[in-house]
Amino acid sequence: MITDMTLGQFFPGKSVIHRLDPRTKLILTIVFIVATFLASNPVTFLLLTVCTVALVMASGISLGTILKGIKPIIFILIFTAILNVFLTGGVGEPLVAFWIIKIYKEGIIRAVFMALRILILIVGTSTLLTYTTSPIALTDGIESLLSPLKKIKVPVHTFAMMMTIALRFIPTLVEETEKIMNAQKSRGADFSSGGLIKKAKALIPILIPLFVSAFKRADELATAMECRCYRGDKNRTKLVKLSYKGRDALWFVLSALFIGGVIVLGFVAGYMPEELASTNLFRIMFYPI
């Protein structure tokens, strides 16, 4: 069932991480992502892994939920790892040489690191951000962090409101899709068998009602907002004002220590510059995650 997907979902709770200011979490997430890409040797990866495990434990999110969230990216993980194993060249003798396939020690090391990197990236950022931050808090945080841009006339508030609405309606649309699918299944619609074209055609009875109701909903929402005199940013006050607390400062210090540790350990072990210089298609591809 679609509703069983956990990646990107919010799990309400009262853990240390849940209680952090969303802005802190956003900044920490950026620090975390940078650190993941800086990591380049076993020691730094060990540090990253330990920190990720600590984060997960601190968030109180169950291991089952985390594993469920990883499930959809397992294919990407394996795919990336395999490509790296085969396509990485190396100095010295290949471990396996067969026809045009040559596997080097470097390739295996790189594949393991790459898979671990993606895994840590997904688990770390989702624990820090999406699992533990409500969508509303998240957009509030983004709006607040981007608010300096207002000075150069960037409509930050509008963007934040659009994001809030989009996020808010994802579950509604998922629910609606499921409802319509069930209704069409009840009329004997078959979504799983047949070739690609047949499968695409089978989606029509879902897509048309879904679009119709989405447009209708958007229209109703706009009217409802206008009825309550929504005029955007101007003179608007907030019910819950964001404020940094002592624990946020503590986490900033921790994250500074963390990224410092990753950089120092990277230099100690040595081959960081080479790793940074090498461009890897997959690294660029997955950067936005």
């Binding site: 409802k179 319509i180 299944k185 009840s186 009329r187 048309i208 109701s213």
Partner: protein, 286 residues
Amino acid sequence: MNKIEIQNVSYTYSKGTPFQMVALNDVSVAFEKGKITGLIGHTGSGKSTLVHMLNGLYRPTSGRILLDGQDIWEKPKEISKIRYRVGLVMQYPEYQLFDDTVRLDIGFGPRNQGLSEQEVEERVKEAAEFVGIDDEMLEKSPFELSGGQKRRVAIAGIIAMRPEVLVLDEPAAGLDPRGRREILGGLVRYVERNDATVILVSHSMEDMALYCDNVVVMSHSQVYRSGTVREIFSDADVLADIGLDVPAVAKIASALRHEGIELEGELYTVEGVKRAIIEYIGRSGK
């Protein structure tokens, strides 16, 4: 005879997550063949979940659902065949309309069943007649119809599959009295003509009293009471205990009886109570 039988069925949503919720808890109930059974209960009492299970949209977490004595999940791959035999009209079914014309939309189910075009045409006509859709409307786009007309088209889309069991989740919600009468009256005719079994979810006690033979009352994920309309509605206190009402006229009858006025007969429809009062007056000679 029982057409559909539910044995010790439980269902839990999102098992193993913080959103876990028990919707049905060890429910056992049977629906008689050729009868209209009403299903009542508060919002969140598990009615809709139960209804979704009858045609295999949800699979019970535990327990069995028997259709003509056979477990519908015996061959999970053939569950779509069960859906032709047990037709389900969802809540606000007008959302499911999508095709170019009303005719094509009603024919969607029968066409999926693999019937010939001629048979599909026959089914569409028959179904349209049951819910009161005329020929002119058949050529229109479903999106230019009014809410009530859309509802009829959606219900016709299920009836056109000629299911042995017809399950309707609040088919008359939000319709005007005439629309209610026409749609529910159509159901009665469908049952009579095809010896079908109907399960009707509704919040309207008046509709229940008028159209149903049996009533199943649900409360807190369990079956609270089940019996004939007469058994269920003759005791206003039992339903009041779980915060449900009996038809207004049944309340009057019950109040009269508390005053020592012995009424007899169908004390839950306006007609029945009227007859009982006239009979009482005749009997007591006042």
